[in-house]
Symmetry: C2
Subunit: 421 residues, 2 copies
């Protein structure tokens, strides 16, 4: 089952051919294929979980952390994964959608129509759920995909891919629509990143190192993201109770993800009153703090406060740690965010509409929030139904990238013999 003789060039060529067939598939055909995949995953549950258990056993033997083992474990997760596939089948098909249409003075009717991008290269870590997510989204958006998951999940992924490909083929789709790099050799990642003749877009899902590696080595456009140093700025007009709830939710709801809060900026006129409340409200749930020199004096009586070190405001904490900083003005808050944010998720807590408008306009992040938790930066929460990635680069797709972001458009020009003067 484990193929160590991978030929990326061949995989790319076959993916390109398959992508043309996928692009022609109707919404009904694609939805039927997704339902067939969901049914096949249910029917083959025993086989999938058996392979997953082997990966888990190896992982334990190799000393994977509990967090990694938890991500790897399909036992509790398979039902949810299958139900997500069925959800994707119910989403609107973006392919064929007409973005705009105009009739020119010479009578030409010009429109832009959404089409699939072609072939996705998706590189991810030891999360077998991503394997199924990506396949469902790729099929729905009419794209082929070449996947490469973490080495710790090779057997789980091989099982999932085998089951899904069989289901696709039974529905008349080409098996090559979905291909998996069946090898743990990292050289194939490098080869995939150079396949620009056949692969149209690279989506890395993982940590900063993976994103940087793709950016620096790919000749194919890369959707980078996955890193967020997220800020909330609290103004005097904020509703303190609401602000505390938003800060608490942004920081503690899931501290290890990229839209979790890293730094709270507080206007100096409320610092004495508000900062101790933040420390009390979050401290009781185990949050520790890194306070700048202007915040520290207000927090002398509390435990868990350390002076912020030189790099602390440039750190994505991924943990129950929160930076605290006092600023004099909205401009100072915006400047701090521009300097330290990774352009992921930043917000303002205020009831001053003018400040909020300036903040929303001037802070250049994939999502900007007014009186809401940064944790909402997510395809599901934004009503997209699913997401392939959260992009923090600015080209093509920004923020949650879902079915629409998995398409491009072409210009369709209908004439009656027009020639250019």
């Amino acid at each position: 089952m484990i193929n160590t003789d991978v030929n990326l060039l061949e995989m790319g060529k076959r993916a390109k051919v398959a992508s043309r067939q996928l692009a022609k598939a109707s919404s009904g055909q694609k939805n039927n294929a997704l339902v067939a995949i969901a049914e096949a995953l249910e029917e083959q549950r025993e086989y999938i979980l058996k392979e997953n258990a082997l990966d888990m056993a190896d992982g334990e033997q190799n000393g994977l952390t509990d967090a990694l083992l938890d991500r790897l474990n399909l036992q509790k997760r398979l039902d949810g994964i299958i139900s997500d596939v069925r959800s994707v089948a119910t989403l609107a098909d973006p392919v064929g959608e007409v973005i705009d249409e105009r009739t020119m003075p010479n009578g030409l009717v010009i429109s832009r129509q959404r089409t699939p991008i072609g072939v996705f290269g998706v590189i991810y870590e030891a999360r077998p759920n991503v394997t199924v997510d990506v396949v469902a989204l790729a099929i729905k958006s009419g794209n082929a995909a070449i996947l490469r998951g973490g080495k710790e999940t090779l057997r789980s992924n091989t099982a999932l891919i085998t089951v899904m490909r069989d289901a696709l083929v039974a529905q008349g789709f080409p098996a090559d629509a979905i291909q998996y790099i069946n090898s743990t050799d990292r050289k194939y990642v490098g080869e995939l990143l150079k396949l620009h003749e056949y692969v149209d877009i690279i989506v890395p899902r993982g940590g900063a190192g993976l994103h940087r590696f793709c950016l620096e080595n790919s000749t194919i456009p890369v959707i980078t993201g996955g890193i967020g140093i997220c800020h909330l700025y609290v103004e005097p007009s904020a509703d303190f109770e609401q602000a505390l709830a938003i800060i608490h939710n942004s920081k503690t709801h899931r501290p290890s993800v990229c839209n979790a809060l890293d730094t709270v900026l507080v206007h100096e006129s409320i610092a004495a009153q508000f900062l101790p409340q933040v420390v009390e409200h979050l401290g009781k749930d185990g949050v520790a703090f890194r306070a700048d020199e202007r915040a520290l004096p207000y927090l002398r009586d509390y435990d868990g406060i350390e002076p912020a070190g030189p790099d602390d405001f440039s750190t994505e904490w991924m943990a129950l740690i929160c930076g605290l900083k006092v600023v004099d003005t909205l401009d100072e808050a915006i400047d701090h965010i521009e300097e330290h944010s990774m352009g992921h998720s930043d917000g303002i807590l205020t009831y001053d509409a003018e400040s909020a408008t300036r903040f929303l306009n001037e802070v250049d992040s994939s999502a900007v929030f007014w009186n809401a938790s940064t944790r909402f930066n997510d395809g599901g929460q934004f009503g997209l139904g699913a997401e392939l990635a959260v992009s923090t680069q600015k080209l093509h797709a920004r923020g949650p990238m879902a079915l629409e972001g998995m398409t491009t458009y072409k210009w369709v020009v209908r004439g009656e013999g027009q020639t250019r003067q």
Copy 2:
């Protein structure tokens, strides 16, 4: 005036800072700046043309071709260039436009708003008009730009940039919004392509070699394009007179550009009748032909016909040469286009709506045409008012890339204290 000590890192940093100021500028401020630029170019006409004359004299001495000298010459072109700047001022400002807005069940109001991308890196050949075009489009879309033009136009470009920067500064804009790499040393192109910390997008304008160089060496997303192997497929139901006019226009209107026709595909049932008409109609304007083995027998009586060589259908002619090929079916035509097109401009000439629909859906090019000339693939012709480039890649912008393509979006989330469950 000619600075040979270029510091790209500093230029990038200053461009990034300037881009934040530009992003905040109102439509009125930006339009005023464009009008001021147009006026300054008029007032400084003598200085600009004097510098341009020096470039021209050098060019003649260095044996530049007439075509290159013509592109370099501002004498006849400056009025048109200035009038284009005034036109860009009249176009709608894309920045701030709300793409979509929805209210989620939890009350969050979520919209996407267009924002400038940030910093453009534009690399182009010896065309000083591009210098002014890019500046006008960048200012209008709220972006900073670092430009690098062909070495033959260094003095013309330096003059244009100096005049435009002075006009910008007088209007309260930062001079660093527009920077020019004042050196002919090619190493700076390589350095620009790695400035991903400060430059958001690279737009090459030039030949295939430049595009490939950018693609292979850039760590910044590149908008590639500029190459087209363009096809028209003629079906039996075509109006022959109309088809001949479209083929003539697509081939001869401006043979050296990327949306000019390269290959005519003809259905076998009309080949005997239609191919001689093509040869007569285009031959009298000097077009020569490369015919495949199935087309040749119909063209024995004509001059200027050569058998198509093995690479002829993969050649962008850029000249009065046209490939001719007979196909049996629409599928064969689509397959040929998929194999040979560069995804630029391809069309079908037919009055069979079913064939046309299949062609428009299945041919994966930046623009697909039904009974119209391929020469229409152009920002002006598509009603965009101007264009920065014609993209043949699929990410972000496809086909003519104009003001909208020079923006990205951010998600703007307005709440009243919502937290994620």
